[in-house]
Every structure is written in C-alpha cells, then in structure tokens.
C-alpha cells in the first residue's frame, strides 16, 4: 500500500505576541513545527504500513525551509519525503494548494492519503477534502480510528457533533485525521541520519500543471486586509496566597458577578 501524508510546516501561533505599542503581531523568534494533527496522520499511516506493508511518503507544498518538516516525518519513520516547491506555487489558497497536492498524489499513485484535520495557522480543514475531490476519490473528515483495512476498502470511525459514525470507503481514499487520534512516535537517531538524504524536490514542471492553475493566479480568493486583534482587556487580578484566603477572595468575586455587579 502506498500512503501519502500531507505535512505542513507551520509557525507556533502560541508564541506570537501582540505588541501593544506597534499594534502588530511579533513574529520574530517564533519557531515552526509540523502542524500537530499532521503528526497523528503520519502515525496512522505508519501503523497501517507496519501492518500491511508498503510505503509512507510525506508530502508538503511549501518554500524550501519546510524541508525540515519532511525530515522530521522521515526521522519518525516515513520512507521518504517530497517537497513540492516552486516560486509559482506561492500565494495559494485552499483550491490551488489542493490542486497541486492532488497532482502529486496522482503521479505517485497513492492508495491512501492522510492529512491533518486543520492547520494551526490557517485552520480551514479544506485542503484534505479538496485533494480528494480533485482526484475524484472518496474522503471522510475528522477520523480518530481505523477499524479495518483491506486491499479494496478501509473502515474508520469519526465523531460528529451528534455522535460516533463508522464509515467504509473504497480505496483509493483520503482521510483527515484529528489531533490526539494516536500517540505519534518519536524520531529516532537512525531516522534522523536517513532523513538527510530522503527528501526529493519537485517543481511545477515535474508535476506538469498549468501555472495559471496554481499559486496566486490559481486562487479564486483574495485577502484584502489583515487586522491584528488586540486581546480583549481583562482585569488580570491574580491572587497568590493561602488556599482558604484564595477561596474567600474568589467566592466574593464569583458572587458579585452572579449578582450582576461586575
């Protein structure tokens, strides 16, 4: 089985701080990581491979720095990584991104594609379904468990707002995997050594897509403005001291709020 895992290299949004003087987000010194649920997607892929055999390929469409994310995937156990990188891919929205990833999946003849439920930076959850629809294959989102996998189909469990659902999908198929679906394994030293030489780079020419259909020209949406949100002003009264005193102090505050006094 050939399993493709979508890996996005994202900034740690939690480290971005609002600067009240310049009223901007401070992005210097912010680290990047593999988008957390992508690691769960990867772990799911590795478990399937370890059971039924085959190959796990980590794929990312990104500038060259994202190689690090793919190396991390390989050091955790992916067989290899492919970075789809080309200046003409820049400025892509979810349509253009999924178009490129779908083309790579087609070229690689993937049997199963796994992506994270959503990214921490753009949080759309649209790229996975987009890849599947471009390829004309079935997908289901928010999967936390694989119940059964055969040559022709995969059966999975997912949660919706109202309950738990079990779905069977004919292969090839795509799943989006939720954060916490499993415990991603740690990178190994051997993996880290192997990772250095396990990443390939593909350009638009390798994929053979019309440049008008990717990147900025291939994106129907336009960001017209970005407004930094000043965090809502809160009182920020912190009590540090003896527990009995703390309880009294807090009870005062809570009862005042309930009476509408605060």
């Amino acid at each position: 089985m050939r399993i493709l895992v979508g890996i996005k290299w994202v900034p740690r949004v939690d480290q971005m701080k609002f600067d009240p003087v310049t009223k901007t987000l401070v992005r210097v010194g912010v680290e990047s990581v593999v988008n957390p649920p992508d690691l769960n997607a990867l772990e799911m892929g590795l478990q399937i491979r370890d059971k039924v055999g085959g190959e796990v390929i980590a794929v990312s469409m990104a500038p060259p720095v994202a190689k690090e994310g793919l190396m991390e995937a390989v050091s955790m156990g992916a067989d290899r990584g492919i970075l789809l990188t080309d200046r003409r891919m820049a400025g892509a929205d979810t349509l253009a991104t999924s178009r490129v990833l779908a083309e790579a999946a087609k070229k690689l003849k993937a049997d199963l594609i796994l992506v994270g439920e959503e990214t921490i930076d753009s949080a759309t959850g649209q790229v996975g379904p987009g890849i599947a629809v471009h390829l004309g294959i079935p997908f289901i989102s928010y999967v936390h468990k694989v119940l059964e996998i055969g040559d022709e189909s995969i059966t999975v469990e997912r949660e919706s707002e109202r309950g738990v659902e079990v779905w069977r999908l004919g292969l090839p198929a795509l799943l989006t995997v939720v954060l916490g679906a499993n415990k991603p394994r740690r990178p190994t030293i051997r993996g880290k050594i192997r990772a250095k030489r396990a990443i390939d780079f593909w350009s638009l020419d390798d994929l053979g897509i019309d440049p008008e259909c990717v990147g900025f020209p291939g994106s129907p949406t336009r960001v017209v403005d970005m407004v930094v949100v000043e965090p809502p002003k809160r009182r920020g009264e912190i009590f540090q001291g003896e527990a009995a005193e703390a309880a009294k102090w807090l009870a005062d505050k809570i009862l005042e709020v309930l009476k509408g006094g605060l």
Binding site: M16, L95, Q126, V133, I140, A173, V227, V229, G236, L250
Partner: protein
C-alpha cells in the same frame, strides 16, 4: 489569463443568497438556523432573495421551518438516495442545483458535515471557499467580504472572491444569534428531484450520544476543566461547582480527546464558541486555540497552579493554586454564602 480548468463565469448571471441547511432527523441544526438570520441581513442589503437549501428525502414540514426563520423560499434536493447523510452524494446534489440556479452567495454551517459538503462543492465550481467566518460585509462592488480569524484568533483576515461565483463560506456556529420564529411568514417550497451517482463511501453505523445535561452554549455560567485535573474524577468537584452556580460543565480539547467529557462540551477553535457571563477555567493552560472559544465571556476566572500559565494573561480573576486544595474550600464558602442569602 485564467486557469483553463475553470468553467467560465458571468458574474451578472449569479443572484441571490443561499444557506445550506443541515438537518438531523426532523429538525434543522441550530448553526444553520443562525445562518438564516445573517443570510437575511445580507440578502436585504443586496436586495436579493434568501433561499434555504436542504438535501434529503421525506422531509414533511421541515422546509417550512426555514421560512419561519427568515428564508423567502426553500429548495429541497430530493431523492431516496439522499435519506441519510453522505458527503459525496450530498455535495453532488448541491453542486447540480448551484449550477442550475446560480446563487451569488452560498453559506454553510461550520459543523463537521457542513464543512465537508462545502469543501466538496467548491472544487468542481472552481470557486473560493472561506472557512469558519465570524462576520460578513459587502463592498462597493457588491462582493461579499468574508471575515475570519487566523493564527489562532490573533488576526482577522478579510477575504473576497472577486471574479468567481458563487462566493462560498462556512460560518462558525454560535457567532450569529438564532433568528426568531415567525409562523406568519410564507414562502415557496420547491422540490427538485435529483439523481446522484452511487458513492464509494458508506455510513455503516451511527451511535448518537445522549445530550441530557445543559448545553454549554446556553449556560450563563460555565465551569471548565483541563488536563491539569490529572484524573477524570477531578471533574466531580467541577460538576458540583457548576451545579451550585446553576451552570454547565465543559472542558479543554485535551480532556475531551481523552474521553473524559463528550465532544459537545469542548470549548475552543475546534469545539464550541460560548459567551457566558462567567467562565471558570480550572487546570487549563489557556492556549489561543482554547481561548478563542471564550473570548466573548463577560468574566473569566482561572485556577491554575502554575503562575506562568498563559491563562493568567487573559483572565479577570486568577488564583494560583492546586485545584484540589482550593475548589473544596470554594465550594464550602459558596454553599455557606448562598444558604445565608
């Protein structure tokens, strides 16, 4: 130059606002009703009709409900094959009707199913889809301005789809109020028989989770627990606190993932947006993915034993303590005072 894969669009032919209505049994999901309120506002602003669109079969009087909530008309994509939800079949049916009727805007509830259908429909239309919007506006050219948080709610992006139609967006539940129900409103219900192809994805089983306790998005007081509780039993103290204050019990994603609480009780970016008068977060670190769900709470109280926990930067009242020490004392204190009132 445009991508040759894109079907040509003459923007003038596309008119009207559509709301995709997610149904469960004999009711319309609350998040969809909320969209009828916002959809009504946009339709009036653009001076076009508001249409509710339902995919399903054998719906009885259900479509009328959308009219009572503000729609001018309802279109039902109808086929026995659409009796139960299926992402491939539902999106195919919807796609066919969008191509036939050409609405300029289609809004989807930002629920799991709503987002699945929206993402599937946008691709063959080769149009823009903006996820999880929290506000809308219209620009001078009549384009929909779609406003959504990015970077964990630290930035709001304004996004337009200037050249493609329809303009599609999914909308965060509980951001817009549910419009009032008015049985005097009338409107047409159009049944559109549709044919859909067999699907390669099939629902084998559905186990509904019971919803007996008060939903967290309706409660004035919400007490929420996080991973800092250490064990599921830690929730018992919080349940008692919620009961005493007439509130509901909620949790961070970490404890919901662990199965300590049902998904319907998760607060945050991938959970619920709530706006209680009082939010009490216990053993919750306060990452932006969590806090984005309670930004609009009137008062936030935090109990955490780590003085450096980020939640202390975004709360009104914070107590640095081990919850196991302070909550029992707080319960005692509150019981005493509530009894003497």
């Amino acid at each position: 130059m445009v991508c040759k894969e894109w079907p040509p669009v003459n923007k003038d032919e596309w008119r009207g606002v559509w709301v995709f209505l997610e149904t469960w049994g004999d009711s319309i999901e609350e998040a969809s009703l909320q969209l009828l309120g916002e959809g009504r506002r946009l339709a009036d602003r653009l001076e076009v009709p508001l249409t509710g669109i339902i995919v399903g079969h054998d719906l009885g009087d259900l479509p009328k409900e959308a009219i009572y909530r503000g729609a001018d008309q309802v279109i039902v994509a109808d086929s026995p094959d659409l009796l139960t939800y299926n992402p491939q079949k539902y999106s195919q049916a919807l796609y066919k009707l969008i191509v036939k009727y050409k609405p300029e805007i289609v809004l989807f509830p930002g629920t799991r199913r709503g987002r699945e259908v929206a993402s599937s429909v946008a691709i063959p239309l080769r149009t823009g889809l903006t996820a999880d919007c929290t506000a809308f506006d219209v620009d001078e050219r009549g384009n929909l301005i779609q406003i959504r948080p990015a970077f964990g709610g630290k930035i709001f992006a304004k996004i337009v789809t200037p050249d493609r139609r329809p303009q599609m967006a999914s909308v965060r539940p509980n951001v817009f109020p549910t419009p009032p129900r008015d049985e005097n409103r009338s409107g047409e219900v159009i049944r559109e028989p549709v044919k859909v192809d067999p699907s390669e994805v099939e629902l084998l089983e559905f186990r509904e989770t019971s919803q007996v306790e008060m939903p967290i998005d309706k409660a004035k007081v919400v007490v929420a627990g996080g991973y800092g509780l250490g064990i599921p039993k830690g929730l018992e103290m919080l349940r008692e606190l919620a009961r005493l204050l007439g509130g509901a019990l909620a949790g961070s994603r970490k404890i919901v993932d662990l199965g300590w609480l049902p998904r319907s009780r998760q607060v945050g970016q991938t959970g619920k947006t709530i706006r209680p008068d009082l939010y009490i977060a216990v053993g919750i670190s306060g990452t932006s993915q969590h806090m984005v769900g309670v930004q609009s709470a009137k008062v936030i109280v935090a109990i955490n034993r780590d003085p450096k926990a980020p939640i202390f930067e975004s709360c009104d009242y914070g107590v640095v303590a081990d919850y196991r020490e302070v909550i029992p004392l707080l319960l005692e204190e509150l019981r005493k005072r509530l009894a003497s009132d």
